[in-house]
Structure formats: C-alpha cells, structure tokens
Symmetry: C2
Subunit: 318 residues, 2 copies
Amino acid sequence: MNGRCVITVGDLGEFGVIARIAGRLPQGGTVLLGPGDDAAMVRAPDGRVVVTTDLLLEGRHFRRDWSSGYDIGRKAAAQNLSDIVAMGAEPTGIVVGLGLPADAATGWLDDLVDGFRDECDLVGASVVGGDITRCDLVVIGITALGDLGGRAPVTRSGAHPGDVVAVAGRLGHAAAGLALLTAGLTGPEELIEAHRRPDPPYACGPRAARLGATSMLDVSDGLLQDLGHLAEAGGVGVVLLPEKFAVPPAMEEAARLLGADPLEWVLAGGDDHALAATFPAGVRLPPPWTVVGHVVAGDGVQVKGRSPIYRGWDHFRK
Amino acid sequence: MNGRCVITVGDLGEFGVIARIAGRLPQGGTVLLGPGDDAAMVRAPDGRVVVTTDLLLEGRHFRRDWSSGYDIGRKAAAQNLSDIVAMGAEPTGIVVGLGLPADAATGWLDDLVDGFRDECDLVGASVVGGDITRCDLVVIGITALGDLGGRAPVTRSGAHPGDVVAVAGRLGHAAAGLALLTAGLTGPEELIEAHRRPDPPYACGPRAARLGATSMLDVSDGLLQDLGHLAEAGGVGVVLLPEKFAVPPAMEEAARLLGADPLEWVLAGGDDHALAATFPAGVRLPPPWTVVGHVVAGDGVQVKGRSPIYRGWDHFRK
C-alpha cells in the first residue's frame, strides 16, 4: 500500500488484480469454465464459433479525462459485440487483454471491468478470461465469440443489384459528440454521451439474418467507408438517398454551434456501431431498420444529389 | 511512398496493411470464414470452444533489437497456443490485434505475420482474423481458440495427494538466454535462441489428457510459481525432487559464465512454455514426460533438500 488514499494496481500486484477482476465477473449460461485457468471454455452449440478482435489504445481510441472507466469498458466491449451481431450471431463471451499503468487506481479498474460486464450482460454474454500486464498507457485488447444457432453467417459480400440498403442504430452521434468535446464544449449532452458509450442495436443483427439479409456489417469507420467495403466485397455499387437520414434536433444544434454539416457526421462519422445491411427488395423490415438506399450494378458508394463525401477513418493516415 | 528504400506501414495505410497481411495467411481446414469480414468463423466440432488471450508489449515482452520480427511472431503465437494445449485441447485458430508504429517497415511486418502463421502451422491452426491500429510501440494481442474433441478439459485444480508431477518441454532455457543477452553475451547460442523462440511440446497436451492427467498448466512464469497456482487450485502440496531435473551442458556453461545457479533458471525461469501436469501414480508416461516430484496433502511447493526459491514473475512488481 502507498501513503495516499488511493489503492493502485501496483499495490495489489498482478495476481491481486486478477483475483479482484475475477470477483466482479459473474459467469452466465454460455460459460463452461470461467477465468482462472490457462484458458476458458464457452458453449458453441452449432459446432462453429464466430470470433472477432479489436485493440483499443488510450489517447487513440479513448481518453481517461473524457470518459469514465465504466464508459471505456462499455465502449470497448460494445465495439466487439457489435462485430459478432453483424455476422447474424449471438455473442457468447469475451476475453480481455489489459495493459495497465501501475498507478491506475483500483476503483477506476473496477469501473472498467463493470463496464465490460454490463455491456456483455445486454446480450447474454460473459467476460470469461483475460490477461493483464503493466503498460505506461491503458491498452485494451478484446476478443468476442458468438454462435450462429445454425444460421449461415451474413458476410459483407452477398449484396445484389436491386437489394435495398437499410440501417439500424445511431449514425453520426459519436462523431458529433467527439467534435463537441474537441471544441471544448460540454453539450448537447446526448451527443457527448453517444461518443462516450455507443448503443449498438444488438438484437437487430440476428434478426436481420432471419429476415434474409444478403450482406451486413457494423458501422465503425463511417457509413460511406463501411458501405464502400460492402460494395467492393459484393462487386456492386450503392446509392444512398440523403433525405432518408433523420438528423435529430441535438445534432442540428451541434452543427449550428460548430458551423458543421450534420449530414457529414451521419454519413462519415464512426464509432456509433449502427448496423448496415442489404435485403432483397420487398422484404418488410420492422423498426428500427430504415431503408436509406439501394444496391446497383457498378461500384462505389454514391450519395444522390451530392458530390462524394468520403472521410472515413484510416489508422495510419490520421 | 517516402524517399527511403524502406516501405513502411504508414506508406501502405490501414487497409493496404490489412490486405498485405491477409495475403500471407493461408486458411486451413478448421476455418470456415477467414480474414476480411466483421468476424471470422472457425469449426468447434464438439460444441464447446476453448479460448485464451495474451497481450505482449514491446520493451516488456520482447525487444526488436534482440529478436527478429519472425521470432517475435513465433513466440507470441506459441505462448497462446501453449495455453490451449495445456487444457488438453487442439488449437484451431488465432486472432491478432496489432499496434504498429507508422514507421515500421513492411518487411518486418511480413516477418512477424509469417511467424504467427508458421507457429500456427505446427499445430494445424490458422490466423483467422485481426485488427490493426497505430501505436508508438509494437503491441500484440493474441487470442487462441481450441477444440477438446469430446474430452474433459484438464484444469489446474484436479491434483490429488499421491499423484506424480511430471513436466514435458524445456525449463530454464529462455531465462538463461535472457540472462546472457542482458549481460551483453551472444552465447551459448541455443539458450539465446530459446529466449527468442520457445518450443512448446504441443502434442503432449492432448496426449496428457488421454493419459488421464488430473491437472495441467503451461509453465509461463516459472515452474515453482506455476506449480504454486496448481497446488493452490487443487488444495494440495507439491514436492519436487531436484535431482530429476536435467541441466544441459549449455546451461552449465552459461551458469559458469554468469556465476549463476542453473537450477534456479530451471525452477524459477519463465517463457519456455513447458507443460507441467499431475497423473495418478502408476500411469506409464511416455517421453518426453519426466516425473519430477509428487503431490502431497498440504499446500505450497517444496524443493526437497533446498530452501525455497520463489522468484516467479509478477507484471506489477518487476
């Protein structure tokens, strides 16, 4: 223990930290063996397992002065769980590799872990294991697993000309929130909250698979860029109809405050983890799915009546 | 492109790097959907999946001036695959989260990826997906998956008094190699190579499960510390017989050069990824399994005729 009132990760040591984390993680029905061994074991009922990983770095993907430990945990888990549902699968478990500064407060770590746990809880998954190591900055490596329940995975490559393009979930909220924070503003609060913590439409992923989605992905780098990947993978083009995108009042206000074009946030902003999918024309899509365009022969993504806006994220160019 | 003759990760950009990596990764028979979508899909024939993750940081787990990209890739994959076989499972696939400096040479990255690929190839697994992001230091987050083929997992907690304790694989080699490098020496070469690249006895894990191992783990932090975890998990004690441990000539030589006790490397050195397991007395153990002690009622790990040596690794204390 140190002389201050804050107990740090360094005070507890590696195995103290592991025990503390494991104690905060209830194990759900998908888990056959939880934390504490060389590996965990999770149910994979249909004989296949869907797997995705993401690496999040302090200063690049989050800032400890802009987001609480809890929000960072929620966001880190969310972006992985969203990749699982974007295949049409149900998340079952995540493992977390954590790099932590020795002077990180254990209370902050508790919040982070609770964030992982609560986000997993939304989808019936559990945090089944992990690894910790000392690092000068906070590093979070998350891998999520999922089960397709016998369904075919919905990949990026199945779109056909004539399909409709639909989205579910928020678009541009996180980007507007980040722009507000970067400008030193503290509102509109709902956009800043959206930057701190995404709200992916988890249930829409498996539901889209059942509705016959021909392709799907999660919007992490911006709708135009991500639909560009979908168009390229399918060998098709996409036409978006800008009038189909709702711009909520808070985003209009933020745009006024910052002199920005809200549609650019909607079309090019990342980190909300909406789902974008294509469906055969004529499929009745329940809310929150909204048709925003259609698939055409050709290539690329075109916004009808607008010159291209294409400013998606490239980690080595920004 | 920059003006130098070296093409960097930053020159290629995120999606160029991803395409380059994916192009080097053949997908084996366990893979149903490889890199390029929101998630990959791997066979899990017995309806359960074993999963483990590790986070490796430049400067802490490896140094680019001491190890080649290829060796770092081999080592990073090995330590995860070893955790899978330590459950008695067969590895099926890994996913890799990579943090890379923009000025990392693409040739170095190719070597790293080839290292992941070749280590996976040893066990019939594939690199099925990943994530890259920019980072000032190299960060490698690996998650490995495995299948138990209907067997029960061999956990850390099943040892009973009367069982024998056996090890398979090298002990103390990597620690001796690290001590040599730290002292500025370049030999004995086989020990330095052992530090750069472990050689886990992969086939011994599933085989131990079939032989009836009551508990097992991979020796990553040092035999005494890791057997300490096994003893604690099983509510038992372990007695080791020091005369049972072979000290090879190269290690005797290194000990002479450095004025060290080679048995301390063997008993307390990490990173070789040997397997340690307990078996019911009387089980005939084929090579390379070597009986080195036995399980007793009680607690802790005792080295017969020696005072305790317990200097295992704690990431927040070293």
